[in-house]
Structures are given as structure tokens and as C-alpha cells.
């Protein structure tokens, strides 16, 4: 059996942190993606411009640089805000900008931009007749969005969401660099202390491989379900 030199429990906890991080970032990314896609498809020029700036900026900057910026910069901003609130209103407000929060914000923002493109394409794939019919039935804009657009675009968005999720999962490894004790961090410390790099990194690599392979199967299954009743052109 694999002997992890007593680092087994720590690695397990690290794996849980990685998974939590991935799911929270995914939730943020999906929310941002929906907002971004709606903004891009809206008639307001300001909203369109803002969404386009967002996706363009995100695609130009490496994930690690953005993470370092949010982690180190975020704390400076919080400190400044805290000073200001105390001086102006005597409100005692402070929080520590920890690696986990920075990781979720950064990964959520990055993949929010990719999700924006995915959802935009998916919304465009919904037939315009569906929207016209909804409006003819007297649905409000919000109702049309929630009851007609979202359920119908999901089918088109699923493959894109799946790809983004796979990349997101691997990006979570970066958060170990700013000090989050996820499984990569634990493995790194263990590998250095025991001078056995293969011994600790290869199991971690396999955890990632299992996660990506498992997600692949799950997404395939979801895809199949979402496309029930749709004629497939092979």
C-alpha cells in the first residue's frame, strides 16, 4: 500500500479544500457568466462595452498574475477601506484577505469571462420564435429570461461549461502558490521535508486525473440527458 509518511490526513484535507475552492469558483463564474452574457446581448451600449472590456482584459492577463494582484492588492484595499471607515464614521471594520477568498475571486472572475462567451453563444442559439412567443403570452422580460431562455440555452451551453470546468479544476492548483493549504501545498511541503518528490506529487496528480476523468463522464451523462428528445445529427 502507498505509505504517505503520516501526511495522508493532511493530503485528504487539502483535497477537500481544492474541491470546495473549485465549486465556489464555478458558482461565481456561472453567475458572472450569466450577467456578462446578458450584458453583451442587451441593447445598452454601456453594458455591452463593460462586458466586452471585462472579457478582453481577463483574456490578456495570466491567471497567476491576477491572483497575486488580488491577494496582495486586495489586502491593501481592505486596509485602506478599514482606515477610511474608522476615520470617517468610527466603524470598526476589518477582514483578513486570505488565500482562499482571493483564489475564489480570481478563478471566478477569470472563468466568468469564459462563461460569458459560452452563455452568449448558447443564448444566441435559442430560436427567436421562442422569445417572441413568450412576449406574445405576456411574459415580462425577467420571466422570459428565467422560464424560456435559461432552460433552453443550457443544452447548448453544457459542452462549453464542461470544458471550462475541466480547465478551472486544474487552475485551482495555482492557489497553493499564494499559500492556501490545498493538496498541492501539502504535497510540496511533504516532498521537501521527506526529499521524495515523486512519492507525494504523483498521488496528487492522480487525484486531479480522477477528478477530471470523473467530471468528463458526468458531463457526458448530463449532455445525454439534456439532449433527450433532440434529434442528433451524427
Amino acid at each position: 500500500m502507498l505509505d504517505l509518511k503520516g501526511y495522508g490526513p493532511a493530503l485528504m484535507e487539502g483535497a477537500v479544500v481544492t474541491i470546495e475552492l473549485a465549486f465556489l469558483s464555478l458558482a461565481l463564474a456561472v453567475a458572472l457568466g450569466l450577467i456578462g452574457a446578458s450584458a453583451k446581448l442587451s441593447n445598452s451600449r454601456a453594458a455591452k462595452g463593460a462586458a466586452t472590456t471585462y472579457t478582453t482584459l481577463i483574456r490578456g492577463v495570466p491567471d497567476l498574475v491576477m491572483m497575486l494582484l488580488f491577494y496582495y492588492g486586495g489586502q491593501v484595499v481592505v486596509n485602506m477601506l478599514s482606515d477610511y471607515l474608522w476615520d470617517a464614521y468610527e466603524i470598526d471594520f476589518f477582514f483578513q484577505f486570505d488565500p482562499f477568498i482571493s483564489g475564489v475571486i480570481t478563478i471566478g472572475l477569470i472563468f466568468g469571462a469564459y462563461m460569458t462567451e459560452t452563455f452568449r453563444g448558447a443564448f444566441l442559439a435559442v430560436e427567436s420564435g421562442q422569445i417572441e412567443a413568450a412576449r406574445a403570452y405576456g411574459f415580462t422580460r425577467w420571466h422570459t429570461f428565467r422560464r424560456i431562455m435559461i432552460p433552453q440555452m443550457l443544452r447548448h451551453a453544457l459542452p462549453g461549461i464542461g470544458n471550462n470546468w475541466q480547465v478551472l479544476l486544474k487552475t485551482t492548483a495555482l492557489v497553493s502558490i499564494i499559500g492556501l493549504t490545498d493538496m498541492v501545498r501539502v504535497a510540496e511541503e511533504a516532498a521537501k521535508a521527506e526529499r521524495m518528490p515523486f512519492h507525494f506529487f504523483i498521488p496528487v496528480a492522480f487525484v486531479y486525473l480522477t477528478l477530471t476523468a470523473g467530471s468528463e463522464l458526468f458531463i457526458k451523462w448530463l449532455n445525454k440527458r439534456a439532449n433527450v428528445g433532440v434529434v442528433q445529427e451524427s
Binding site: 482584459l57 483574456r59 490578456g60 492577463v61 495570466p62 491567471d63 497567476l64 498574475v65 491576477m66 497575486l68 494582484l69 496582495y72 492588492g73 491593501v76 486544474k170 487552475t171 485551482t172 492548483a173 495555482l174 497553493s176 502558490i177 498541492v184 504535497a187 510540496e188 516532498a191 521537501k192 526529499r195 521524495m196 518528490p197 515523486f198 506529487f201 504523483i202 496528487v204 496528480a205 486531479y208 486525473l209 477530471t212 476523468a213
Partner: protein
Amino acid sequence: MPDFIAQWLNQNDIFTAMTIMEYWDGLVTTVHLVFLSLVIGLVVAVPLAIMRTVRNPLVSGPVWLYTYLFRGTPLLIQLYIIYYGLAQIEGIQETFWWEIFREPFYPALLAFTLNTAAYTTEIIRGAIVSTPHGEIEAAKAYGMNWFLRMRRIVLPSAARRAVQAYSNEVIFMLHASAIASVVTIVDLTGAARNIYSRFYAPFDAFLFVALLYMLLTFALVFAFRKLENHLLKHQRPLSS
């Protein structure tokens, strides 16, 4: 130079000639690392992609396993395994390889190359597999053998279909190269981290480097768009 920039530079403690030189060296390292890994990766990926399309599972299987492993795990883990792992190989410190792999640059180059080669292999494989049947049949009818067909018909045609996906891979690699700073390489990100820790000025250090990466990215996007237009000229609708 406009006055306000000159004034700003004069009052500035951070962006002095010395730090600008540090950023410049970092830029050179980043470009060097990314360019080399992409070129070597592409050269390795073409034969691998061809092997991957071969019917014999003994040929295509190992390549599939390689791409699956390298695409299914984070690049950071691959970098750690190679960087920390190479030094642990029994007896490597006595061979001449140690002279090469003692520097962090070469382990990082190896990790990046293996990673990008795996992704590129799959991109090229996809392009090869989607070659229209007619093109291959026509080549066969002309009596071309397998090698000639590959060289003159399949690969050029696949290259056109692969350019767009490959341009994404190039940008992905440029961004992924930022993790080289983790193994003590002073690339662009490494320079920014050094300058951050010296002045405790996160915005100056990281926003500036983000801007540099952005410029590099947009230059690449522009170059690839030109290349794509050039390669797909024959498919452009005639303007009336």
C-alpha cells in the same frame, strides 16, 4: 516625452531604470522560455499526432496515454515533479545532465514543452481526422504513397484547420509560463514578485506586469489573425 510622464517618472521611486531593467530581463526570459517550448512542442507534436491517428493500438495507445496524463493534471504539478524529481534521480549528479538540469530554466522548459506538446498533439490530431475524404482519395488516385500523401495533402490541409485552436494554445502557454516564477526563475512574473517584495507596492508591480502580458497577448492575437487570413485566403467570399 510629454511633461506629465517625465514629471511622474521623476517623482517615482519604483519605476527607476533599475527596475525597468529587471522587468526587461524578465520579459526576455518569458519570451525565451515560451518560444522555445512552443517550437520544440510543435516539432514533437506533429509525429505524435500522426501516430495517434494510426489504427494499431500499440502505436496510438501510448500517445493517447501521454496526452491524457498531461492534459488531465495541472501544469504546476508537472513542473514540480520534473523540477524536484530530476535532482532525486540516482546518480544524475555525476553525469553531464546535471550541468543542464541544475538550473531551474531547463526543468521548466522540459515541463512546458511536454505539456504544450500534449495539447498540440490533440489539436493536430483533430485536424488530421477531419480531413475531407475526397482529398485523400484524390491523392490516392494520383498514386501518391502514404508518406507523400501525408506531406503534400494531409498535413498542409490539417495545418489550416488547426491554426485557430493552436493560437489559443500559444496564448494559454504564454499565460501558463507565469508559474515559472515559482521555481525561482525570474521571468516577467518573477520580476514583478521581486519588485513587489522590495517596495510592498502590489498595484505598481503587478498592474504593470499585467499590462505587459496584455500587450504580448494582443500582439500574438493580431499576428495569428494575419496568419489565418493568409492561410484561408482561398475560402474568403469574393467581394463584389
